[in-house]
Amino acid sequence: MKTLAEYRKDFDILSAGDYIYFDNAATSQRPRQVLEAVTDFYKNANANPMRGLYDWSMEATRLYEEARSLVADFIGGVSGEEIIFTRNTTESLNLVAYSYGLENVGEGDEIVITVMEHHSNMLPWQMVAREKGAKLIYLEPDEEGVISKSEYESKITDRTKIVAIGHVSNVMGITNPVKEITAYAHSKRAVVVVDGAQSAPHMAVDVKDIGCDFFAFSGHKMMAPMGIGVLYGRKELLLNMKPFLTGGEMIEYVTREDATYAELPHKFEAGTVNAAGAVGLAEAIRYIREVGFEAIEAQELKLTTLLMEGLAKLPYIKVYGSKDPAKHCGIVTFTMEGVHPHDMASVLNDDKVCIRAGHHCAQPLMQFIGAGSTSRASVYFYNTEDEVKEFLDKLSKVREVMGYGA
């Protein structure tokens, strides 16, 4: 079995440079194996899948559908018909908003989301609420980032048609009780959409166990190429939904007036598919399985603990969310007294440390926690303790650079 240090060597960008990459919640790095899987696809079997009657196209189709099966398996053994390939989480969530939301939400109905949502799981619901005259209700977390039972039980009601909730917050790192919320929402006959962008890369996900109706995630945050994402949807719901994008590959018959649509999941995949992207995602899943979520979680916890312990020693640093590193999913958001996050990020960049600063596509959460802007360090399993130590060391010098003496 390879050690984590050996896995790290699969990432040329990490081995090559002297950069510390702590912006994994934005996008991950890709191991050589994934890049090679994509290149091999183009070198050996590149063709437009789905319709060709020749070897390359059949092989491309096989690889694409194999990727679908692997994804179906990866999120808990659902059926391949329930897996739709999209570009990213954002497109997956928009698909649900347009094809399910606009059709099933009416005037006076309610849609429940949380104030922690990424804009991608917020704006589509604002759109549905606006178009349909429905009300958008926000769940609010406590200090530690937790959505309490009384919070969701008081706001999810018989009027609720859709509950859309992030599995893991990209700012607080907290894992929301999606299973409990789903059970409660289902008791009110609401449909539940889970934004898994920040969970799928970091923990074993079982959508059947969660019980949710839709689950969305992005390949690029879990070592797959950019440009490939996933939407899981329960078959029963997908069957009754109108297509979203229309065009080639998603039809059975087309006449001048109308069309009948292809079977699931093709009904939702219009146009030439990103087969190479799907092949890359399949390879990323194989890679994750080889490393194993146990090892991934253990390393992330070790790094997060070290990070939070180090930050706690700096009196001018404020960390958001839970005090427990195990509840951060590798994501630590913080501010430094007197130093704007953008200046901090620039100074750290000068030391070849990559962190994110800003609103993290979660402006309402920033308003809620009363911070205009914050800094975020997010790790993945290929990061090291040495990197965390070096980061803390560099960070402790930022205030001096910013004129606050030593």
Binding site: H342, D343, S346, V347, G358, G372, M402, G403
Partner: protein
């Protein structure tokens, strides 16, 4: 200039001990300038007499570069005519975008010339130009700047 040196030698002083970060009395032009992606948010006030800027002040918050830049700008433009100020803003923005590089033009910016290296930091360009852009806007379109 290297980034840390820039902070240490120029930016920090203006950011931590700004001279013009205050309301001015009876301003003639007031305008808000915002940089949504960064959250920088300033309100710039100018007092203008006979076409000459006689006082300038700003309030609000933002990163050190945006704050220092507007503070230096205020320093620079007090005593200048509206036209000179507009021209200076053009020079500053041209310099930051890397379009103006000749020393002579840049020297006219005095201390603000030190921000030239922000041209190599694309992500900070918007911070550096916020104040200048706001001033240019309000001088060119005074009807938009409530008095």
């Amino acid at each position: 200039m290297e980034l840390k040196q820039l902070y240490r030698e120029i930016v920090n002083e203006h950011n931590l001990h700004p001279v013009h970060k205050k309301a001015i009395e009876n301003p003639d032009l007031v305008m808000r300038g915002v940089n949504p992606s960064c959250g920088d948010d300033i309100t710039l006030s100018l007092k203008i007499e006979n076409g000459v800027i006689t006082d300038a002040g700003y309030e609000g918050s933002g990163c050190a570069i945006s704050q220092a830049s507007v503070d230096m700008m205020a320093d620079q433009v007090i005593g200048k005519s509206k036209d000179e100020a507009i021209k200076l803003a053009g020079t500053f923005m041209g310099m930051i975008k890397g379009e103006i590089t000749d020393e002579e033009s840049i020297e006219a910016l005095d201390e603000a010339a030190a921000l030239q290296d922000v041209a190599h930091m694309p992500a900070r360009v918007k911070c550096a130009v916020l104040g200048w852009h706001t001033m240019q806007e309000m001088l060119e379109n005074p009807e938009k700047a409530q008095g």
